[in-house]
Amino acid sequence: MTDPTLALEIKKLIVEALALEDIAPEEIETSAPLFVEGLGLDSIDALELAMALEEKYGVTVGDDPDENQKIFFSVESLMGFVQKGS
């Protein structure tokens, strides 16, 4: 869960997949919320991020809405998801 290389990789993926401007991957806090507060991502971003994660790590989003909310909460939770799934 504390692999800094993976954290940076996921941050880069977020910045690139969502074409975020004015933010460098390093500036994304690993444990801060990605959606609404924090980075302020939205529902289209959620779709695109899910696709990018699948493409890069071969992990697919499951069918439980509560679980998905937990997975997409932060870089940290995404790391757990990627590590478990790949």
């Binding site: 401007e21 460098a24 939205d42 289209i44 809405p65």
Partner: protein, 583 residues
Amino acid sequence: MRSLAELLTHPRADDAPVAFGRDGVHTWVDFTERVEGLSRQLAGRGAAWLVDCTDSFAFAVALFAIARAGAVGWLPPNRQPGTLRDLAAACDGTLRDDPSPEQVQPNRLVLDPLAFRAPASAAALDPRATVLRLFTSGTAGQAKEIPKAWCHLDEVAELERRFGGALAGDARVFSTAPHQHLYGLLFRVLWPLAAGRPFQADPLLHAEELLPRLAEPGASVLAATPAHLRRLTQRGELADLRGRLQAVFSSGGPLPAETAHAIESALGLAPVEVFGSTETGGVATRRQTRSGDPSPAWETLGPVDVRVDPASGCLRVASPFVSVGTEQPDGTLELDMGDRAELHADGRFQLLGRADRLVKIGEKRLALPDMESQLQIHPIVSEAALVDVDRGGDARVAAVLVLSAEGRKLLARDGRRAVAAALAEHLAPNWDRVLLPRVWRIVDSLPRDERGKLPRSALLAVAGERPRGPRILAEQRGEASLRRELEVPDDLAQLEGHFPEHPVVPGVAQLGWVLDAARVLLGRPLRPRAVEVLKFKAALRPGQRAVLEVRADAELAEASRVRFTLATSDGEVASGRIDVDPS
């Protein structure tokens, strides 16, 4: 199928399923007793109720109870706090099923639509009385109210006539469309309710959450938005639903041909695209098929009449389902939809694009001029223009701004990101997050043409302009120095044409970065007189990181020479000295 106004007068079996969710099935007796119970609570306590429900069964109960009580339900266009606050202020109370603590108006009457039950009694409703108000665009202040009576929503009978024959009587209806918008209201709630098909009650946010639900045994129908359908087709499982998923509807924006064809390949049936608006209801449908016309014409739904206004070239729609417009001799209303169209001799039509500046993003409608006026009232903005840009997938809004003196101060002090953040925060209370600008461009003047107009192409050119500077990863200030850690963006504008096979950052671009850093260091506009002892020692490539240091030769106010070095981990890239006028 009967009118929706008569829904409660014709009893069904008590255990007939109405809706299903994660907590089980809601039956007809659940529905009618809850409608009765809630309507008794509402009677005499208000004429306007804000309906803020996340669950579609609670939503349906709320609608019919409000109608039973002779009141009007207001459907918020989004759940942004600003929108809900404004609408709640104009209503007598709120019907909310979500127990989350963020209360919009804590001192107002808030009722849970599922909290009451009473023995049901048959009651006919007035088909012509307004029962709902929908809202079409961003802010409550500027949004247009669209009233609806049951007769306007009886279009569901037309949908049943046209498409119901292919569906099993007990096919379950799934949807990702929000029920407070007309598409979701008709396809997710009212059509299933009127036809006796159970509908999915709980909201599903991810397309992935739909698949296992659709995979449960039994026939099903899916009414989704193009973005969700696109996502579904990228998963293999859709083909497993062949034979059971009996119809797929798409509305809320254009359905890409690729998605339509993928659905057809997987299911053996082409999706039905629905074209309509909040004001007019569904107007026409079409199917894009792999073997057919690549751009099939739209066919009107039942009693819908269309013509093209010779002056504007726009589609005018008249039907019993239109609830806002000009009255026709036969009593129906006609509305100009603002979509340019070409009418064929057989009554079908082709759409040629929007006439105004209304865009749809993530199925939400945005009037660009509304958001522009909101931006312009912010003290840091002098002029603002918006344009929708397609960045592969869903469109996004780009903002092109001319800053006021105050805005330029903020920009110089805190950078572009601070400007963007301040304005996004300013817009956030009134617009859904997906509609907020994602690209911010600051210019000295808007790209107006000789007639003073802002051509879309010019705005797009500005919005699409690639970064001209490096990404600044970190910045440290010393007493008379500034150190920036940089990353060269892959899409740096200056890489264009600079050795296509071996892109390197031109020296002149590097000098530009140095001047920028020197300007920030000295805190004043630079008047460079000369660049001395300039050396370029190694190439700098896209994706590489570098450290830029600029150091003044004296106290900042007196400084007339700034030395710089630019280096990567492999060694020095460039160094030199800039001579400037003292301040």
